[in-house]
Amino acid sequence: MSDTTEVRSLSYVMAFNEAVRLSMRADESIFCAGEDIGAFGGVFGTYGGLQKEFGERRVVDTPISEQAIIGLGVGSSVSGLRPIVDLMFMDFVCVALDQIVNQAAKLKYMFGGKATLPLTITMAGGAGLSAAAQHSQSLEALLCHIPGLKVVYPSNPYDMKGLMVSCIRENNPTVMVKHKRLLGMTGPVPEDLYAIPLGVADVKRPGKDVTVVSFGRMANESLAAADVLASEGIDCEVIDPRTLQPFDTATVVESARKTHRVIVVHEAVRFGGIGAEIAAQIQEEAFDFLDAPVGRIGAPFSPVPFSPALEKHYVPDAISIATGIRNLLGRPVPGA
């Protein structure tokens, strides 16, 4: 980022919008397509105002046809355009899975490297809006399991803009996940076009007692938990990988060697979640440095419930994360 750029407060959703807008102004080969993104501006306002600026040619309202939306992205990217296609909700990945997994992710490899797919797929993930089991999932582990895809999951407006710019510039099929509960989050965002490289973690809070690896909305909940624990004399290092595939193992392992204790926090169900992979990698590379097994905090093994009364127990929060960290460290709960 240049020194002269104006930094002002911007929401997570508008940081996304600005990344798309500035990128489109700079590159005629970029277009957007998806359900309701044109005249309506996207269900969360993510694409708001873009059709007005760039017209129907470059901001395309599509039918409710997720396979064809991804196919549109695959076919247009492999033939020279730089599409951004929107799936609205992360759950709808399941409707388009063939085009994502069997086509987008594999075309380059199957064609002996001769294809390039500068394709960005955007979607809103995560729970917390009583959107129930088909509009609240965190399916990032499923996507990270597929060679050929990159997966990005920002936790704040600044990272959102810089990472989205990188997604658009990326010459591989890349999934950008926006967390629904972060859309209104505000924070400092420079006005100019800046990029945050994919695959580079960010130490959101340095600390010495325990490493907390977390991303998306959970990174912020982990930071809130770290504030609580600081008052108890526990110094947490919070690392946000920002990109889940490729995963910045080196930064996490370096931290594990320093703090000797690691806990991974995500919103997806624990079983088979990306926390399992992160824990395995840490144990492979830093086993002798660990004073405790790598901990994992995630959702229980059930679909996301509808009722707010149930959902609040489903999604980890600062309180449950703090409890998990205390347990990992063998520390008593204050006042207990």
């Binding site: 396979q67 492999v78 063939d98 085009q99 380059k108 199957m110 002996g112 050929g148 810089g162 490289p197």
Partner: protein, 328 residues
């Protein structure tokens, strides 16, 4: 549009090349010299040839699991094709795709595809690119009758019509979805009945008649180039061999008599007889053409056999396009 003499000879050549490539591939497979699955296009040559004779390298096509014929018709060379089937480093896909993913982006061939119906949404994307760039080129999605039973086809057809894209949906109706008769899997007789539901014209053509396919495709392609939107072209055709492999008779799911009836309508010999009658070519010319292409096949097999296998260090290459790091 009545095809010119050049077009007629071109159709003949494309079909002969497909037939010889497929017969050679079948023989190699029988000898165990080709790894993996093999889906032969023999019997359907008039469709790929008749359609692709209307296209240039700048036009895009998507193909199917039965894709060799589409690549040959689009200008594919035998050497890298045969090498790809053998899994050699000199193949079109450096040995990473094989028969089911054979492709050549330089020729606008966006890949054979192992997933039935998956090519159509990709062709929609290619057609979108052509319209976006206003380059006058078109996309053609090849697929079978079976693919019109899968959702991806319907999503692609509807989106292409909604966006009025320059695309032709070319259905090769060979009466069987893998090992099941078409009439067991759909309640309609003609695939083109589906076209009306999306707001595009549907045209039935005799898929054993290369000239008929050429003429119908010419109209559909011209329509797409003129910005008038998609067409569904249904070519009634037949595969002479099994769904995969080289067995043709004695199959449990279709009677030998049916195969024999269709083989009487062999698209290449039909055209050849017609061209000889029309004095477009002599019997000697026809023989010379077969011999010429046979020598090309022999050369390709020798090339492929002599070609190196991919090195182990290629295993992890091409998973991703390498990016120059972009710093803030």
């Amino acid at each position: 549009m009545e095809p010119t003499r050049e077009v007629l000879l071109d159709l003949h050549r494309r079909m002969v090349r497909i037939r010889l490539f497929e017969e050679a591939a079948g023989r190699l497979a029988e000898k165990g010299q080709l790894p993996g699955f093999l889906h032969l296009y023999v019997g359907e040559e008039a469709v790929a040839s008749g359609v692709c004779a209307n296209l240039t390298n700048a036009d895009s096509i998507t193909s199917t699991h039965r894709g060799h014929g589409h690549l040959v018709a689009k200008g594919g060379q035998f050497r890298p094709m045969m090498a790809e089937l053998m899994g050699k480093a000199t193949g079109y896909c450096n040995g990473k795709g094989g028969s089911m993913h054979i492709s050549s982006l330089e020729l606008g061939m966006l890949g054979a595809n192992g997933i039935v119906g998956a090519g159509s949404p990709i062709a929609v994307g290619a057609a979108f690119s052509h319209k976006y760039r206003d380059d006058g080129n078109v996309a053609v999605a090849f697929f079978g009758d079976g693919a019109t039973n899968i959702g991806a086809f319907h999503e692609a057809a509807n989106m292409a019509c909604a966006l009025q894209l320059p695309i032709v949906f070319a259905c090769e109706n060979n009466e069987y979805g893998e090992f099941t008769r078409r009439d067991k899997t759909m309640a309609i007789t003609d695939i083109v009945d589906r076209a009306q539901g999306y707001g595009m014209p549907g045209v039935i053509v005799d898929g054993m008649d290369a000239v008929a396919v050429y003429e119908a495709a010419a109209e559909a392609v011209a329509r797409a180039r003129a910005g008038k939107g998609p067409t569904l072209l249904e070519a009634k055709t037949y595969r002479f061999y099994n769904h995969h492999g080289v067995q043709n008779l004695g199959l449990k799911y279709r009677p030998d008599s049916e195969v024999e009836v269709w083989k009487q309508r062999d698209p290449i010999f039909t055209l050849e007889a017609r061209l000889i009658t029309l004095n477009v070519m002599s019997a000697e010319d026809a023989t010379a053409e077969w011999d010429l292409q046979r020598s090309d096949i022999a050369d390709a097999i020798a090339f492929a056999e002599a070609s190196p296998l991919p090195d182990q260090d290629q295993l992890l290459e091409d998973v991703y396009t390498k990016m120059i790091p972009v710093m803030a």
